[in-house]
């Protein structure tokens, strides 16, 4: 018997939350912090067993606020860092997610979403946080959020999230719904050599006052702690060197805009969609687990001779505005399917309404996944 493999290469029948754990290990994560919460607990539970064996460190914190703070602190020591939670935890983390954005800290947050508001229904997996992860912390900022629809993507997108976080020095959210986290399906984990990993660029010396540690739209190398770099990191408004500055309007402007531009200038490299709407009169736009129902409904509609296509937003943020616009401009009708009451609908409508009719279809009963027959009935009603 050879040495135990670092990653779990092979074909598995696996829960989405466990596939996420395998992705965390495969990505080379060095630190995870968490607090128990349904329906995300399986991720941290398994990490507690697996991550130390992979050389990583964990901390079960006193609350989700401490979890995100500890993960940010660990990221500044050079470790790929993450936390995992659900809606109530995201709500608690919001202020410090803002710190991660403002200090340009690579961080992965896995959000296994549930039904809200408030305590809501922990085990029912609605897409309750899809807008709050982009807009829930105060001030103006830009994060990245991606939406897995299957256990396989819980693995793939978790690895991808670490790569994006490292490349752009930004918090990246894996927006699983509880349904995806608890779904069991075939998951293929490739050989380690086939998994592409990105590592952050690290500052190699120099003085803080002559270095550019922050506010570089091309992403500054990270002056991580413990190397004598004398880095000054503050969540207050700061300049390129990390000097707090609360008086110069030009610095304030750069402090807000440069980290936004850092992401938006590269949005074509970041944003991913699955487009299958050539010749369609009606395009179903969706993200997360609803996309599975959407595809099946489109297939059923096409079999019945109806011209129906699909657009799946694999990336939620930065918002795929151009991709939605292109779909709307090619069709007569956009039907937005979301596993909530229409959180992304205003954003999608804003990019579609100039070109075609737009409507929204939530689940038949909130808390249920859209039945393809239910979507098909709506399609027939629109196209009759």
């Amino acid at each position: 018997m050879g040495e135990a493999k670092r990653i779990n290469t092979g074909t598995h029948f696996m829960m989405g939350n466990q596939a996420c754990v395998e992705g965390v290990i495969a990505a080379g994560c060095g630190f995870a912090a968490g607090y128990p919460i349904t329906p995300a607990s399986e991720v941290f539970n398994s990490l507690c067993k697996q991550l130390p064996k992979a050389g990583g460190t964990l901390l079960q914190t006193e609350d989700e606020i401490a979890a995100v703070c500890a993960a940010i602190g660990a990221s500044w020591t050079g470790l790929k860092s993450m936390t995992v939670t659900s809606g109530p935890g995201i709500s608690l983390m919001q202020e410090n997610i803002g710190l991660a954005v403002g200090t340009e800290t690579p961080l992965v947050i896995v959000d296994v979403q549930r039904l809200g508001p408030s305590t809501g229904v922990p085990a029912v997996g609605m897409a309750g946080d899809i807008v709050q992860v982009a807009r829930g912390s105060h001030g103006d900022y830009q994060i990245i959020a991606i939406c897995p629809e299957s256990p396989q993507e819980m693995f793939d997108m978790t690895v991808h999230a670490f790569n994006l976080a490292e490349e752009y020095r930004v918090p990246v959210f894996v927006m699983a719904e509880g349904f995806v986290g608890h779904m069991r399906e075939r998951v293929v984990i490739p050989e380690e050599s086939e998994i592409k990993l990105v590592n952050r660029r690290i500052t190699q010396g120099g003085e803080p006052q002559t270095r550019c540690d922050f506010l570089d739209p091309e992403v500054a190398p990270m002056p991580i702690f413990g190397r004598g770099l004398k880095t000054h990191v503050t969540s207050s408004c700061h300049d390129e060197h990390g000097n707090r500055n609360l008086s110069d309007p030009d610095v304030m402007h750069r402090y807000i805009m440069k980290p936004i531009e850092k992401i938006l200038n590269k949005r074509d490299r970041i944003v991913e969609v699955e487009a299958d709407y050539e010749g369609a009169k009606l395009v179903l736009v969706s993200y997360g687990c609803v996309s599975r129902s959407s595809r099946q409904a489109a297939e059923m509609a096409r079999a019945a001779g109806l011209k129906v296509g699909t657009l799946r937003l694999k990336t939620a943020w930065p918002f795929p505005d151009k991709e939605v616009r292109a779909a709307a401009e090619s069709a007569d009708f956009v039907l937005v399917l979301e596993n909530n009451v229409g959180q992304m609908y205003p954003y999608i409508k804003a990019e579609s309404a100039h070109a075609c009719k737009v409507d929204f279809l939530g689940p038949q009963v909130l808390g249920q996944i859209h039945d393809p027959q239910y979507i098909l009935a709506k399609i027939r009603e629109i196209l009759k």
Binding site: A70, H232, R244
Partner: protein, 277 residues
């Protein structure tokens, strides 16, 4: 002509030419005690990471000290520092923040870090009031004191932070006022060297806010009060509540050894897996 520089200036960022503190503030004494402790221990400042929160005291290390510095959100520096320490177990991770930051909004992190006995050194600067925001009642403001948010007298009772953190399980806890900087320095040194959670509660004068509402007035009067009413913990143990009224109990509240978080985690993993990864 040679320029005279303060012996601790070498630990300060060269570009920082001024402090943000009001005249008479206790933060200067505490800054000296901290830097003197590091100097006397012979620690390379590059082997330290400083973490602070929000409030006047959080500005003691930021941007002053010429080392890695993480200036965080209100109440959360201990949570951030825990992640830093777990990522850099061989560095000295030192938190400097105020009583509002660490015992009000951040109180949960304070007691849980003490409970898990993570190897941090926390300098908790206690001036008994919210200074930066204009003199509001803090969890450390004495019962009955009139402040801007307790205009009819504070109806709440104050925390005894050192007792709280001792009860939560810290390995080392000490309290000194700014009238006792040498003892404070000695305790900071012990705290840095302690393998476990160490907190030094530094009672500090805020003449601008606390001095005004308490009618103690100037920094000098407040320091005189510390001199007159400071009492050693050993002596206080023999006094009853009536005798202790108005006194500031000083000294070491806790000083013992027990498994520290990182060492305990590593030992547990080793025992269960034989170090087999």
């Amino acid at each position: 002509m040679s320029e005279i520089t303060h012996p601790l200036r070498k630990y300060m960022r060269p570009e920082v030419k001024k402090t943000t503190f009001c005249p008479g503030c206790g933060a200067g004494i505490i800054t000296q005690a901290l830097l003197r402790a590091i100097d006397e221990l012979g620690i390379n400042i590059d082997d330290c990471v400083f973490v602070s929160g929000i409030g006047c005291s959080a500005w003691i290390p930021s941007p002053l000290i010429n080392a890695d510095m993480l200036h965080t959100t209100h109440g959360r520096p201990i949570a951030y520092a825990s992640g830093v320490k777990l990522g850099l177990p061989n560095k000295h991770v030192i938190v400097v923040s105020g009583d509002g930051d660490l015992s009000a909004i951040g109180g949960n992190h304070l007691i849980h870090a003490a409970r898990r006995n993570i190897n941090l050194t926390v300098i908790l600067v206690n001036n008994g009031i919210y200074g930066m925001t204009g003199g509001q009642t803090a969890p450390t403001t004495p019962f009955g004191l009139t402040t801007i948010t307790s205009p009819y007298g504070n109806a709440e009772h104050e925390f005894d932070i050192s007792k709280l953190v001792t009860a939560a399980g810290a390995s080392y806890v000490a309290r000194w006022t700014t009238y006792h900087p040498r003892q404070m320095t000695k305790s900071i040194k012990k705290g840095i060297e302690k393998k476990g959670f160490a907190m030094i509660e530094a009672i500090a004068q805020c003449p601008v806010q606390y001095g005004r509402v308490s009618k103690q007035g100037s920094a000098v009067n407040m320091l005189k009060n510390y001199k007159q009413n400071g009492i050693r913990i050993e002596k206080a143990a023999k006094m009853d509540a009536a005798e202790l009224k108005g006194k500031i109990v000083e000294g070491e509240f806790a000083d013992f050894d027990k498994p520290e978080l990182l060492a305990a985690s590593a030992a547990a993993l080793q025992a269960r897996t034989g170090g087999n990864k």
